[in-house]
């Protein structure tokens, strides 16, 4: 039962291997000196790399270069959007205290929103989703129209990181914009898998990150309209139009831009590749384990192509994970841990699952290195693994 030397990696939604072009772009910068804000030649050289990367990203993300604010990753970008826009909007009009978001957001949005409610007087409304995890736009409309003057911002993710559900971001914009309410969207999981365009979507702020699309860890961006006022989280040297201070990480930014450029260029073929593997896995696992069922929308147009989220009634997700890990198969329950203890998924709970069901799931997520052999390995292992996990649950 010992694990094979090469693991079967099916956790690309957690992080995915760096693309060789990104490694190359990054390593080329690692040994070079230069602070992008210095005025001398070394500084100018670094600045050129940063600004060319910014332009590359702008092209890939359908935004203007000046709209990109580099951050340390998706979590910081989400925090900057949620807190920064809330603070700025309320400073401009103290009536604006309402933050509207969905019950299925990533913790990088949910937790700052809850922090605002606890410490900054925000009034938070977690809008309901249907049983596939998709936002009820009528509920959003009703909430805004009840008192549009009091809404500070709306934050709705592009694609869900656990179950893969795509949100109707353009409908959200259509509802919010007439009232002048800014919309933020976390597109960390969507970028590279489905079309993500900043200008075309009409959102005011968009979160993206490097390591989910084949770039390095520790770098991401908030794409944000110039006219959207954002108060900084991090004060200092005034980099990134005074919104995000700190010396720019030139190598990481170069790797990030190279990865995003490639991911967007290859999106169509990549999306098809991972969708084929994902669909094959869902079909074969559900055939082998009749009680297993996928979560999220059935319609491929309504979900991310690379995420298979499966419920295994009678099992603990934790046990499945451990048993698969022992066979060299790496996946995730998709939900957050607290001190190493898996919590019931807030996403599944919001979708109407009971606590039992919110604990019995596994997320398999595909990426650019995934192959048919990975699917075969899961299909071969899943029956004995589910049997053992069920036995463990019965004694527990």
């Amino acid at each position: 039962m010992s694990a094979p030397s090469e693991p079967v990696y099916l956790d690309h939604a957690a992080t995915t291997p760096m693309a060789p072009v990104a490694v190359e772009a990054m390593t080329r910068q690692l040994a070079a000196v230069g602070n992008a804000n210095s005025l001398h030649a070394s500084g100018r050289r670094a600045r050129r790399v940063v600004e060319e990367s910014r332009e590359t990203l702008a092209q890939a993300l359908d935004c203007r270069p000046a709209e990109i604010v580099f951050t340390s990753g998706g979590t910081e970008a989400d925090n900057l959007a949620v807190k920064g826009i809330f603070w700025a909007r309320r400073a401009a009009d103290p009536r604006r205290v309402r933050v509207l978001t969905t019950a299925v957001e990533h913790h990088a949005v949910l937790d700052p929103v809850m922090w605002l409610a606890e410490h900054q007087g925000a009034e938070v409304e977690l809008l309901p989703v249907d049983r596939t995890g998709r936002l009820d736009v009528d509920a959003l409309r009703a909430s805004i129209e009840r008192d549009p003057e009091s809404v500070a911002l709306v934050s709705v993710m592009w694609g869900n990181n656990e179950v893969g559900t795509l949100q109707p971001v353009e409908e959200v914009v259509a509802v919010a914009r007439p009232h002048g309410v800014p919309v933020h969207s976390d597109a960390v999981q969507a970028l590279g898998s489905v079309p993500v365009g900043f200008a075309a979507s009409g959102v005011d702020a968009l979160t993206v990150t490097g390591h989910k699309v084949g770039g390095p860890y520790g770098v991401g961006a908030l794409v944000c309209r110039r006219e959207t006022d954002v108060q900084p989280l991090v004060h200092g040297g005034g980099q990134e139009r005074d919104v995000r201070s700190g010396t720019l990480d030139t190598p990481a930014i170069a790797g990030f831009a190279a990865a995003v450029e490639l991911a967007v260029k290859q999106r169509t073929e990549h999306g098809q590749h991972v969708a084929d593997l994902r669909d094959d896995l869902v079909r074969r696992v559900c055939a082998a384990v009749p009680e297993a069922h996928p979560h999220g929308p059935d319609d491929p147009g309504l979900r991310l192509p690379h995420v298979a989220h499966l419920g295994f009634p009678g099992c603990e997700g934790d046990s499945l994970l451990m048993l698969l890990d022992a066979r060299g198969i790496e996946c995730s329950t998709g939900s957050a841990c607290s001190a190493g203890v898996a919590q019931p998924s807030h996403v599944l709970l919001a979708m109407g699952c009971d606590e039992e069901a919110a604990r019995h799931s596994l997320r398999f997520s595909f990426g650019h290195t995934s192959t048919r052999a990975d699917v075969d390995a899961v299909v071969e292992a899943i029956v004995p693994v589910v049997e053992r996990a069920r036995a463990a649950k019965r004694v527990g």
Binding site: M1, D318, S319, A326, G340, V341, V395
Partner: protein, 388 residues
């Protein structure tokens, strides 16, 4: 074998896991999360339930090179150990939650889940030795390091549990284990031993109980407070805030205004939760020669009738001595009787008596009644002289 190593984050369980792996077993580390809210349990580096402890265990597993998981046993732990602890104190007994945890959690919930998942055994850092007897039975013996021996808290394990247990440290001294941890590059080598009760965050047992069982007073009034009474005269010597703050044999914290007539210290002799009375008296009145116990757990075949002989002893608490005794078991009722060959002092109902034949653990039972020797008999006078 596929071995599940229970890793608390301390040095003992880390070395136990390392030794199991080195012995060629396929080892997986598991840390037990016993509180849903880790901050509510012991803070600092002394317990086994904090986030720091979980991280220490994870780091040790990384160094050993074994997979590591955290298992959430908080509900089972609360139901089987914490509730039992609260009930016992509410009823005027003195429980040992570590035994209950071994019986119900580590070698039951964890073991059974492990077996179902395909593991063959649970390894822990307890100091005790397992041997296979001629008839194939697994025997548990005291550890080589008698000062560190933990066979007492394992005295609740039955043959099935022992058959699926590994105690890789039983043949070593604590000093050697610490040195080995340092050699192996385990950061926890110098971590202090855990003490006290893991779920009582600050070690203040009475304070913790005051909060948790405030509404469980078994008295007619529903209030916890009551009288502290002189056992000999029946005279009220003082008041207390709740019988749960007292343990038979306790001498400190009685807060009695007046000294005893003979000037000698007074001890808690009896706790009567229903009347709310704590009885106190001189040490000679604590002497116990006979114990009634129940809920026996046998490591091997149940004791058939009487166990006696020069090597037969009992131990009454985790760091108590070995007391020569004769032990009776009525298989029909499960009643266990212990005749102590010399008086024991501070024997509280709720404590577990563990029976040994030489170094071998025979079994255990929970004390229901500790019969104090009536003060009139000359035997007691003798005992009190010996103790004085």
């Amino acid at each position: 074998m596929r071995v599940l190593a229970a890793m608390s984050g301390g040095v003992d369980s880390a070395v136990a896991a390392a030794r199991a792996a080195e012995a060629g077993h396929d080892v997986t580390g598991v840390h037990l999360a016993l509180s849903r809210n880790p901050a509510s349990y012991r803070s600092g580096a002394r317990g086994c339930c904090t986030i720091e402890d979980s991280n220490d265990a994870r780091r040790a597993a990384d160094v050993i090179g074994i997979p590591f998981y955290v298992w959430d046993l908080s509900e089972r732990f609360h139901a089987d150990v914490v509730e039992d602890f609260m009930d016992a104190y509410a009823e005027g007994r003195t429980p040992n939650p570590c035994l209950r945890c071994n019986e119900k959690i580590k070698f039951a919930a964890v073991l059974e889940k492990g077996l179902a998942l395909g593991f063959d055994a649970v390894a822990t850092g307890h100091y005790a030795q397992l041997e296979t007897a001629g008839d194939g039975m697994i025997e548990m013996h005291r550890a080589v390091d008698h000062g560190k021996d933990q066979s007492y808290v394992l005295g609740v394990l039955d043959q099935h549990q022992l058959r699926h247990s590994l105690f890789p440290l039983g043949g070593s001294t604590k000093t050697d284990v610490r040195a080995e941890a340092a050699e192996r590059g385990l950061r926890v080598a110098a971590k202090p031993d855990s003490h006290d009760i893991c779920f009582v965050a600050d070690g203040d047992n009475a304070g913790w109980l005051a909060e948790k069982i405030a509404d469980r007073a078994p008295t007619a009034s529903g209030e916890w407070g009551g009288a502290i009474v002189d056992d000999a005269t029946g005279e009220e010597l003082g008041r207390h805030d709740g019988t749960y703050g007292y343990t038979v044999g306790q001498r400190k914290g009685l807060r009695l205004g007046r000294p005893a007539a003979d000037g000698k210290p007074r001890y808690v002799l009896d706790i009567e939760p229903v009347s709310g009375t704590v009885r106190v008296g001189g040490r000679e009145r604590l002497a116990v020669r006979r114990i009634d116990a129940s809920q026996p757990r046998w490591c091997g075949a149940p004791l058939d009738g009487v166990l006696s002989g020069p090597a037969v002893t009992v131990q009454l608490r985790a760091h108590g001595g070995e007391l020569p005794a004769t032990v009776h078991h009525d298989a029909a009722t499960g009643a266990v009787g212990v005749d102590l060959h010399e008086a024991a002092y501070g024997v509280a109902p709720g404590q577990t008596v563990v029976v040994y034949d030489g170094t071998r653990v025979v079994g255990s039972a929970v004390i229901d009644v500790a019969h104090r020797v009536p003060p009139e008999t000359p035997e007691t006078a003798e005992a009190s002289e010996v103790s004085a």
